[in-house]
Symmetry: none
Subunit: 405 residues, 2 copies
């Protein structure tokens, strides 16, 4: 419904995502946000609209894909991002409508009575260095199969992303292919099979690919096989600009978040360095060229996942020190939030609602003292679905016409 109310104006909208920023009490009954000394954020919070968003649904812990789709204004239940696509994006591969992305695991197999049997599904978790060497070898040997180009990117340990690029866009459902990982040692790898005509065409290429891989890796001591799963296509998503009338860019360091932003058609800004300060300089450089800016800060999540609450607190404090530089840009609407919570005590993503701060001239404000979970609960935005956040940003930049007379 919002689509037909979109109007344009020269306002600038900035969304800063502190990945996994939400937390739980971890020391002295305080969360990471509560432990952090944040004088600049505190001052801003006092004159902003505060609340919390529910990323996917009550009690649902989102991965990075659904977490970001939600705050980008897309229903994360309707648009699913396949495991292969996310793996490929995370390893820096660009994905197109012509592509099938696959998550691969290097494995150890042996021949028993002429049959291939899986001995170790992860090839003894080979070192990442060895993975790189093997993936390089495969890339050299297999560049194309029947006109389909093949791209590989090494991940950590035994993990690898594979991309098949067909000459033309593939119909929906071309990724309906059975995994080759038998999920248990001692069994034979499965043969990839398509569930319909177009996916069977992909499966034919995969069968050739598998036997070529087998040939290239036959003398490897450990990683002499490649198990395939998570076949997926780029989801059909209307671009952010088509949908919200906002020319958008992403200022992110990590490939997965750059990839997620590019999935919805945001431009990915290249810049020197990787610190928060470098990101703000990049923001400044392109400030005149876009309407919407997505800036992604990763380390809050990384430390949360490690259970290192002090590290997470430090990243929040570092951002706070740099906040005045962000405010100098005078965004018409500034949102600060996370894609999900990552409480240090859980060492992982969680389902908890995520603090949101929205600054604009058209807020009530004065409800809360700080940008923390508990202070956000007092705010004027309440607890709302993440996918509505963009509507609120559009409204506060006066980019939505009245609905009905």
């Amino acid at each position: 419904m919002v689509e037909r109310l979109i109007t344009k104006n020269p306002t600038k909208l900035l969304m800063v995502v502190l990945d996994g920023v939400g937390g739980l009490p971890v020391k002295d009954g305080k969360t990471e946000l509560e432990l952090a000394r944040t004088p600049n954020l505190d001052a801003l919070a006092k004159r902003s609209a505060l609340g919390l968003h529910v990323p996917v649904d009550y009690g649902i812990t989102p991965g990075s894909g659904p977490g970001h789709l939600g705050i980008f204004g897309y229903d994360p239940v309707r648009y699913e991002i396949g495991r292969g696509i996310l793996e490929a994006l995370g390893l820096g591969l660009e994905v197109r409508e012509t592509d099938i992305a696959i998550r691969g695991n290097y494995a150890s197999v042996e021949r028993v009575n002429g049959k291939i049997v899986v001995k170790d599904r992860r090839a003894g978790r080979i070192p990442t260095e060895e993975n790189r060497r093997i993936t390089e070898k495969l890339s050299e040997a297999i560049k194309e199969i029947d006109g389909v180009r093949v791209f590989l990117a090494p991940g950590m340990e035994h993990r690898v992303a594979i991309l098949l690029r067909f000459p033309e866009p593939l119909p929906e459902g071309s990724d309906h292919i059975t995994d080759t990982d038998p999920q248990k040692e001692g069994l034979q790898p499965l043969i990839p099979t398509g569930k319909n005509e177009s996916s069977e065409r992909v499966a034919r290429v995969l069968r050739k690919f598998t036997s070529m891989v087998e040939d290239v890796l036959k003398d490897e001591p450990k990683a002499n096989y490649l198990l395939l799963r998570g076949f997926s296509q780029k989801p059909k998503i209307e671009s952010f600009e088509e949908r919200f009338g906002l020319k958008a860019c992403a200022i992110a360091v990590y490939p997965m978040y750059r990839g997620l932003a590019s999935l919805v058609g945001m431009n990915i800004i290249e810049f020197e360095g990787s610190s928060i300060g470098d990101q703000i300089l990049a923001l400044k450089d392109v400030w005149q060229e876009y309407d919407f800016f997505f800036m992604h800060v990763k380390k809050t999540d990384s430390y949360g996942e490690d259970g290192n609450y002090e590290g997470k607190v430090k990243v929040i404090e570092e951002f706070d020190r740099l906040l005045p530089k962000v405010l100098e840009l005078k965004p018409d609407v500034l949102v600060m939030t996370g894609d999900h919570s990552t409480p240090s005590i859980l060492k992982g993503h969680s389902w908890h609602p995520v603090p949101v701060l929205l600054y604009s001239p058209f807020v009530l404000g004065g409800t809360s003292e700080r940008f923390t979970e508990r202070e956000c609960l007092k705010g004027e935005l309440g607890i709302f679905p993440a996918k509505k956040l963009i509507n609120l940003m559009l409204a506060h930049s006066l980019r939505l016409a009245k609905y009905g007379a």
Copy 2:
């Protein structure tokens, strides 16, 4: 779901709509509601359930139509009220299921090589007085076309509402007719065309109507043509009484709100005068005859739209002084809210959640000190969709049976 839980009892439910009552800080960091001296409202707020409603959806600014449908318990996205219908209601025309309502603009045209060309789409914004004279003249000349009765009502400047009343109810889609306004000067007016059989039948009448108008107005110096748009039918809406089991009436001064209430089948009460005091007297007069009372106070919105916060504050204070008279009626459930917010600083409707006060013997209370945006945020009702407000009123009057065993 609520429909099958409806029970009846002799309780009285009163909804007072202070149009556009919600606001934003406008002076000393205070909103209009916060600036107003409201001792009676304050006392009531302390023992009421408070919260805020979201009229249509997060970030969506509603017109008066969707704003009222929501608080009347109807999904404002599902039921759309056409521009022609709203115009007709606003100018005091009654609309029926047999009717097509149209928004008309008087325009200036000239003949160029035998063709009619639009010179001014608004006839130089003729004075309202001239509009009245011309509309009167048209009404006299065109009373009926092929058994279809024609009604006209003059609006402000060049605006006019037209109603075609057919002998029998029209099927849905009979209003799918192309506008005649070419949207640009120098072009020919368009010919109204139906997109299906029943709308083409309406279009035939409209083509005759247009040429009759042309004939009647041919000697007018400015307004010698009438451009037509916003063709619409009365939406198919289950009546308030059928849906909620409440015999309902409306005490409203302005035609549009009387019209909106009549759309859902409320009885419109006629009364002397137009002040809030007059409305309360009218309420008293019919108190024994109905279950549900909708009382609409317009001026909060009018002053908000003018950016006159002091005016808005005064209307709130005026209502506060008269509140004891309302309470003397001893409603079992009293709700005070707005159909949307109209912050004086925005000089128009806005998307901000709207304060709600619900008084009944069955509330928690004690959460808040006043009926203001910020105090309502602390209330027991939270932030909820407008269309749920009637459910809450029914529940608090013990008119809803238990769901499930």
